[in-house]
Symmetry: C2
């Protein structure tokens, strides 16, 4: 027992000394971090100032300045920005604001990771998650449509469709949260792709309350649902292709040892970017079909005998999402081809 007593005392002392080291480590760190943060911030604002000065010199048709030199300076500044934001120093820049969505669901917790490794892991996991869901995206509506003609005599029962909508709701909530987190961790994802998932969440919620049975002419009433399911299957295929492209893009970057955006020039990832020209026609077709489904829903709601508000709202949402997707895909392509 004496030996035990000694051990307990030792454990107690160990705990105290560990506590001391831990708190001195933390306080030492926080002051050093603070100074790094200040340096990063002042450098960031210097670069901003220089950029606007050079820009105004360059574009004011001032004959006295050499445009070549201006371009060179702009390039240098771009390089400095890349060093600052893409490397380890990036974690000391003021974080991007969290946005209301994350704050609503998570509160003021910090989801930014300062280590690049973890940031990459989060991104890979996001891609893997999208892959898993893309398969379900394909199979779930497929099963519903098959069962409909084989077993359910052309008239979908309410429950499986609602289960599908509930699944969509959770899926889109998860995607929105993850994309917001990626954004906080420095991803350049366009805000629209996140808004698009908010819209999709809202639509899934609305269609949960939509009673698809209860009228004599079931096939006619469910025409909208059928179109929606077909479109969802197409979306599954498009998601798989898009994932393949985006995963390869990430891996090419990592393989080149160039996690820095600056180092990846158009030529080097040409193999991957070539895929983009294959992917885009498919995306445009999808977006066209999305708008078509939306119009179809609106038509039945306005001129047919379906009077539920859910139908017209879903129609409007689908059309808005199609337009937004199209505009943003075109803008992405334009930015890329400018390189």
């Amino acid at each position: 027992l004496d030996a035990l007593q000694a051990e307990v005392t030792k454990a107690m002392e160990g705990a105290k000394s560990l506590q001391d080291s831990a708190s001195s480590f933390i306080s030492r760190n926080s002051s050093e971090e603070q100074s790094l943060r200040l340096r990063a911030q002042s450098l960031d604002s210097t670069i901003r100032r220089l950029r606007s000065q050079i820009y105004s010199l360059h574009h004011h048709d001032n004959k006295a300045v050499d445009p070549k030199l201006c371009e060179k300076l702009e390039e240098d500044l771009h390089r400095a920005t890349c060093v600052l934001t893409d490397g380890d120093a990036g974690s000391f820049l003021p974080p991007k604001a969290h946005g209301g969505f994350l704050r609503m669901f998570l509160g003021p917790i910090n989801v930014r990771s300062s280590s690049k490794d973890i940031q990459l892991k989060v991104k890979e996991e996001y891609n893997a998650y999208r892959d898993r869901t893309a398969l379900l995206f394909l199979l779930f509506p497929f099963a519903l449509l098959i069962l409909r003609s084989w077993i359910w005599d052309g008239c979908l029962p309410t429950f499986p469709v609602q289960a599908y909508q509930a699944w969509l709701l959770f899926l889109y909530t998860g995607l929105s949260l993850r994309e917001n987190i990626l954004r906080v961790n420095g991803s350049d994802i366009r805000p629209w792709w996140i808004y698009h998932h908010y819209c999709a969440m809202f639509m899934a919620m609305v269609s949960l309350t939509w009673d698809i049975q209860g009228q004599p002419n079931c096939a006619q009433k469910q025409r909208g649902v059928e179109l929606f399911l077909q479109w969802a299957m197409m979306q599954g295929v498009a998601m798989l292709l898009q994932n393949r492209y985006q995963r390869q893009r990430l891996y090419t970057r990592i393989a080149l040892g160039k996690a820095n955006r600056m180092d990846v020039v158009w030529g080097e990832t040409a193999g991957v970017d070539g895929q983009l020209w294959l992917l885009c026609p498919i995306l445009f077709i999808m977006q066209g079909f999305e708008a078509y489904v939306g119009l179809q829903l609106l038509k039945t709601a306005l001129f047919g005998d379906v009077t539920e508000w859910q139908v017209s709202l879903c129609g409007v949402l689908l059309i808005l999402m199609a337009i937004g997707n199209f505009v943003n895909t075109v803008q992405t392509l334009m930015v890329k081809s400018r390189f």
Copy 2:
């Protein structure tokens, strides 16, 4: 222009040197962190081992050992555990597993904060969030019930009720996420309170699909909804009281300068814990009413003319939640009175 060129070069150099300091800071830190982590882990396992040794000595009716001494050693060990887990050292213990819920919605991002200040802030924000929602919890069903008798002639329209259920769904999702985050950050919240919110999420989802109109006898069909709304109002009141109690408990701890659980003994927070004996009867009444509403729903589903599966499922869920809440409240009280 020459001056600008010099400035650009300086900015470039600044970026590079900042990058160097940042990466050396990060790599230095990570090795030091690693060693703190190892020390914390080995101390943790030592304490565990000692505790089980003392426990077996104490409880094997070994006449040779002095029970007083055993108790003293146990108390010392408890103190050592508190120093280890409640102080700064706690951030270097292996984190509690994230749980499937967080992983599903957020992916592998780390939501643990190593600074005690931020952990407290997160908890305060959680309490503030609950306060805001408790008010809505009170007002939303109240408005529905008032409008029902004033304007809607005793028959609730579908849309406002569905909007209410949708709001509940998001609210409970947010609460579940936040509570999971608190848990990862070291809160002792019982797992049941989190499961309870999963149940509530599921119930909100189910009742979204529940068509509350469409039959001739509306008042009878909506009896269940009416009870549910009344119960929700009571819950709003209980939440407000519960928040008041929990916020004061937190503030007492902070004010005493004793964020460590070990230092807070029964007597010191007696003013707050006294409230508990006032709160609990209210909670028990609520839980009884919750079970009553569940039974009522089941009754209409089994013996009435309402055939929707949603009704019986909600009934079962309510009864389960009432039982679980009751059991866990009693267990909490038992643990507290043992001090």
